[in-house]
Assembly symmetry: C2
Homo-oligomer: 307 residues x 2
């Protein structure tokens, strides 16, 4: 099974693509690395850092690649793959790092035609607060989860290769259906992001916003940390996964209505029972999570933007 | 003006009361410290740690005190002050550390009768993830905000004394109306806590909860950290401040409905503008906050439970 490549093409050489390039090089899984990006400055930086051997703003540069790694905003998937198609080798494996999967799969299906069988949809759960090639690191995916979401048409051989490749890069690979992936991440990542943005928006647009922000402490700080994330990236993700997100949001609104009733009826026992149930879950999660983190040797602080 | 005391009575000698006792002692602001608590074990621990000179489960022990510091769940304010009243010196200053102020003030007004003029409502914005006398530290309030919320009946002299006392303990004192205090903290502390509990509850009670919790990363971790806080304490706070909290919750639900519409109409420009507005506020807050924290020399991690 092929897990090393002659010519690897990395589309988008920022943190995610740049780290992938660096990881391939560190593990000697690619002989020659070509970066494609719409920003010449980013390519120059990636070249200077030695992340890639060659950089180009034109997809023709990716001719004859046997591996393509797509690290662009999910919204751009279809256009990027369409522009790549004329230069795409029939046997090239294509995979991606998008935070949503159903929309990326449909975009790839439309753009790639019969080459779609070689597209292995992926989502490495890794990121950092900083961006760009300078933030890239060869160990970004080491001991992190990578979720692959193959569909019926996905070639089993392609899936096996991509799975083995991530394994050789030190990642822990899980297979999920695209729907399950999007539902899960709508609940544990996309919804919290939306809720954090909404809380900050509400405080900022309220009557005594300055006093409020001045009084805000550590609870506010941690709850809203993710509301400082890139608005363009999160616009993409929210819209790409809007069906699952709207469903989670709907459930959340129903939950808030339940709490509203508990407050209105002043039912101390019911309210405390409800809070205890959540607190127990969170305390147990914390124990399991910190155990897993220390087992994996990974820093919890490093998994923000792409989670 | 009196800022040091002969006999100081501390009601509740856990983290908040214990730290206050330790701070008074460190700054030589009290000759003799008496702890009152309903748990003999807590008193024994506080005595052993040297936080107090004497401990009792009976309020009679607080006879002749010239300062009373109340650090009990806000819900217990009235009963505790009522039981104290027979032993309360007519000139004793009484202050508290409750996270809500309007309800505490009404409770004190009912319990203290004409002694209410000497009650100075307060809220030191400090706390830690750990509790009990062992977690107490003399520097807990140093360089932290303390909010005092006097009412019309509050004696100006009593207010001045308590304000000066906090100043001598190294805290930064702000004066606010009880209503403003409760509105501000409903927005930046109580609502986020409620929302974090609700998100965890929703994930825990959803179909594939185990997979979701397994996939949850750093965004989930920080957003939900406060959902691990004490359910009994937060039941108290939510119910004590339910008018302001319900109003904030109502506004929040309206904000979520707006976002829902943005998602449904797939309006990329409006959605990105909305997210950018929140992200800007949060990024600016972060800059100001970290500057203030470094200026104050305080650790942001230390202000959880009581904020």
């Amino acid at each position: 099974m092929q897990t090393s490549f002659k010519r690897a093409g990395i589309i988008g050489v920022g943190l995610i693509g740049g780290s992938f390039a660096a990881a391939l090089r560190q593990h000697a899984l690619a002989d020659y690395l070509i970066g494609l990006d719409d920003q010449q400055k980013t390519l120059d930086e990636a070249l200077k850092l030695g992340l890639i051997d060659e950089g180009s703003v034109h997809p023709a540069a990716l001719i004859n690649c046997d591996l393509i790694f797509l690290a662009v905003p999910v919204f751009q998937t279809e256009a990027v793959l369409e522009s790549l198609l004329p230069y795409l080798s029939p046997t090239a494996l294509v995979t991606d790092a998008g935070s949503t999967k159903q929309d990326v799969i449909e975009a790839a299906r439309r753009a790639l035609g019969e080459r779609f069988v070689n597209f292995v949809p992926g989502h490495p759960i890794a990121g950092k607060e900083t961006n760009g090639p300078a933030a890239a690191q060869a160990t970004l995916y080491c001991k992190k989860n990578v979720i692959l979401t193959p569909v019926e048409k996905t070639s089993a051989a392609a899936l096996a290769c991509i799975q083995a490749m991530w394994g050789r890069l030190g990642a822990h690979v899980a297979i999920m259906s695209p729907l399950e992936h999007d539902t899960v991440f709508a609940a544990v990542s996309h919804l919290p992001h939306l809720l954090a943005y909404a809380l900050v928006w509400q405080v900022a647009h309220s009557e005594n916003a300055t006093v409020k922000l001045d009084c805000a402490g550590a609870g506010f700080r941690d709850f809203t940390r993710i509301a400082a994330s890139s608005p363009s990236m999160w616009t993409d993700i929210f819209l790409a996964n809007k069906t699952a997100l709207l469903e989670e949001l709907n459930t959340y609104q129903a939950v808030l209505e339940q709490v509203q009733t508990m407050l209105q009826t002043h039912d101390r026992t019911v309210l405390q029972g409800w809070l205890s149930s959540a607190a127990n879950t969170r305390q147990n999660w914390s124990l399991l999570h910190s155990r897993r983190e220390s087992k994996l040797g990974a820093s919890a602080e490093q998994t923000e933007n792409n989670a």
